[in-house]
């Protein structure tokens, strides 16, 4: 029996190594907890009970025979995967009914890497359908509730991943971040979540949303765990031509070596307007903590910040509408029965997509259509350049940027579902770094008076995940907010 589930990957490894519990006991403890509590949170769509137990038994046999394999950093560690990521032999719906019965014949590259590092898949996490949303309310499998307060959303689009890790249903979850889908739910659920630089991790097998922005990364309890997972996942993949050759640093080994000369910028555009007073105070306290580490902090400006969400909501729906063309009910997924081909497409898509997916496809189709392309899509791509240039300029004078991850904590279920633009603006602080292809981490910065988690965002220059993680780790060690657990 496991009395206290471990909180971090390192702690889990130590316990398995010391035979405090077996892999099977660990898997059973997580599955029990999911069974008892997840009917409230709805963080899983598919649970792989039998396969996870078989896999755990095989790990235990290996440990009994040959000891704990030190060359496999995730050996026997149970994890979950956002349902918009393909997993071989495990149903992968992307939280949309059009893929209700879809079983991929292959693993996404990052999943294959995590499996070969010894990880055990427990199941697939609920999300906004195809990653479209900031609250997990656009899932056709129901919304995900926040473990810290079940009247609140868990965030999105990777709300199921965040809720599952926060509720201690698994050691970590792998998710994707197109415009904030890892960082915003990490902030809402009190976790560490990294959007890597675009091109750092392979997108092969990630159901594509906006191909020029999509990234895949980890949601975990600590920055240390995030670093370890990045080490396993990152690198060039010949199956994704946008991955870069750049060497992958040993993030977890170097994580505690924070540079004494680090210069950090506070973009003033993130500290005005929509930022709630209580969040501002918590983030200012975090900044004081970081100053006390000996880091130089100065104000900087990213003047095009306010245009990031409108740019995002032209470029992303355009790329979305193109990528989702493959969801037609013809070769896989659920096909509506009609008497002609056009209606087969139109009805399969009508039934298989929630409303937000339809809105995005229609906006995207519009902005790419003849007569509107230059005024909308091409113009937005130029404003995207200005947003990137803002970042290029500030990174000439500072090494990293610190911002709140979100302007407000988790919001009540249903409070933004009738107003798409209010929902879009929940991503106001997470979409700029995404448009620029930069690495950005959300790390827990404490709690509001009513006990909702607050996230601190650390943004770095392209491919400098290492310094982002180093600062996140140094900050995490000060307050150790990750030790606090939701009462469920």
């Amino acid at each position: 029996m496991i009395e206290q589930l471990p909180l971090t990957i390192e702690e889990t490894r130590e316990s398995l190594r010391a035979k405090k519990f077996s892999c099977r006991e660990l898997v059973d403890a997580y599955l029990d907890r999911i069974e008892k509590i997840d009917s409230t949170l709805n963080s899983f769509i598919t649970i792989e009970k039998e396969n996870a137990r078989d896999h755990a038994d095989a790990c235990d046999e290996h440990i009994a025979r040959a000891g704990y394999p030190e060359d496999k950093p995730l050996f026997g560690i149970p994890f979950a995967v956002k349902d918009a990521i393909c997993t071989e032999g495990i149903r992968s719906t992307a939280s949309a009914k059009i893929l209700d019965n879809y079983i991929p014949p292959f693993d996404a590259t990052v999943i294959a890497k995590l499996k070969s590092a010894g990880g055990i898949i427990l199941g697939k996490n609920n999300c906004d359908a195809f990653g479209h949303g900031a609250s997990n309310e656009n899932s056709q499998y129901g919304p995900v509730l926040n473990p810290w307060n079940t009247k609140m959303v868990a965030g999105g689009s990777s709300g199921g991943s965040a809720a599952a890790v926060s509720a201690n249903f698994c050691a970590f979850s792998i998710a994707e971040d197109t415009g904030g889908s890892i960082r915003q739910p990490a902030a809402f659920c009190g976790l560490a979540g990294l959007r890597p630089s675009y091109g750092r991790n392979s997108r092969y097998g990630i159901m594509p949303m906006a191909s020029s922005l999509d990234t895949v990364g980890p949601l975990a309890r600590t920055v240390q765990d995030v670093a370890l997972l990045m080490e396993v996942m990152a690198g060039k993949d010949k199956l994704d031509g946008t991955t870069v050759e750049d060497e992958v640093p040993a993030y977890s080994t170097h994580i505690s070596k924070l540079s004494k000369k680090l210069r950090v910028g506070l973009p003033q555009e993130y500290f005005t307007g929509e930022l709630e007073e209580e969040i501002k105070n918590i983030i200012e306290k975090a900044i004081e903590d970081i100053k006390n580490l000996g880091v130089q902090v100065s104000e900087v400006s990213l003047p095009h910040t306010k245009f990031a969400v409108p740019v995002y909501y032209i470029i992303v729906p355009a790329e979305d509408s193109s990528n989702l063309g493959r969801m037609d009910g013809i070769r896989y997924g659920v096909r509506a029965q009609t008497d002609n081909l056009f209606d087969t497409y139109a009805e399969s898509r009508a039934q298989g997509f929630p409303t937000e997916v339809k809105r995005r496809i229609m906006i995207g189709t519009f902005s790419l259509s003849s007569g509107y392309y230059d005024a909308y899509y091409a113009h937005a791509q130029k404003v995207r350049t200005l947003i990137r240039q803002d970042f290029d300029k500030v990174f000439e004078t500072v090494d990293l940027l610190l911002t709140p991850t979100t302007p407000a904590p988790a919001f009540p279920l249903g409070s933004k579902t009738q107003d798409p633009i209010a929902m879009y603006l929940a991503d106001v602080f997470v979409s700029p770094a995404a448009l620029a292809g930069l690495p950005a981490l959300s790390v827990s910065a404490g709690f509001t008076k009513v006990g909702l988690p607050v996230g601190l965002q650390i943004i770095g220059p392209r491919l400098n995940e290492l310094e982002v993680l180093q600062l996140g780790y140094a900050y995490e060690q000060i307050n150790k907010w990750f030790l606090k657990q939701p009462s469920l």
Binding site: G89, Y102, I103, P105, Y198, G199, S212, G241, T242, V244, H304, F307, P310, Y313, I314, S321, G325, D328, G329, I330, R331, Y332, G333, V334, R335, D339, N340, L341, F342, D343, T344, Y345, A346, E347, R349, K358, R359, I361, M362, I363, T365, F366, S369, A375, Y376, H379, A380, Q381, K382, V383, R384, T385, L386, R388, P420, I421, L435, A436, G437, R462
Partner: protein, 103 residues
């Protein structure tokens, strides 16, 4: 720019999406609101600014065009995903003679 009924119908057709009357009415307002929201970008001067298509700086990433055999078990898994089939063949509604198609 407003999403009027004619534009909704045109975009629905291009998007291969069916919506009922109630959903179309809601979409008309929501899509118009979204367009108004993104139109704030019209105030940004982009004269002489190059568009961003991608952020990696990579270009022309080549690989050999190799023929790789698909293992039989993978073939079977793919065929098993077909919504309708005859043997190992994918069945679809008839492609020709569809009167609802765009010109």
């Amino acid at each position: 720019m407003e999403f009027n009924s004619a534009l909704i119908e045109k975009i629905k057709r291009l998007s291969r999406l069916a919506t009922d009357a109630e959903e179309s009415t809601a979409l008309k307002k929501q899509l118009s609101d979204i367009l108004h929201f993104v139109e704030q970008l019209q105030s940004v001067d982009t004269h002489g600014v190059a568009p961003t298509h991608q952020v990696t700086g990579l270009s022309n990433v080549w690989r050999e065009d190799e023929i790789r055999a698909c293992p039989t078990d993978i073939q079977q898994k793919i065929v098993a995903q077909f919504p309708e089939r005859e043997g190992n063949l994918l069945a679809t509604p008839a492609i020709f003679g569809d009167t609802n198609e765009d010109s």
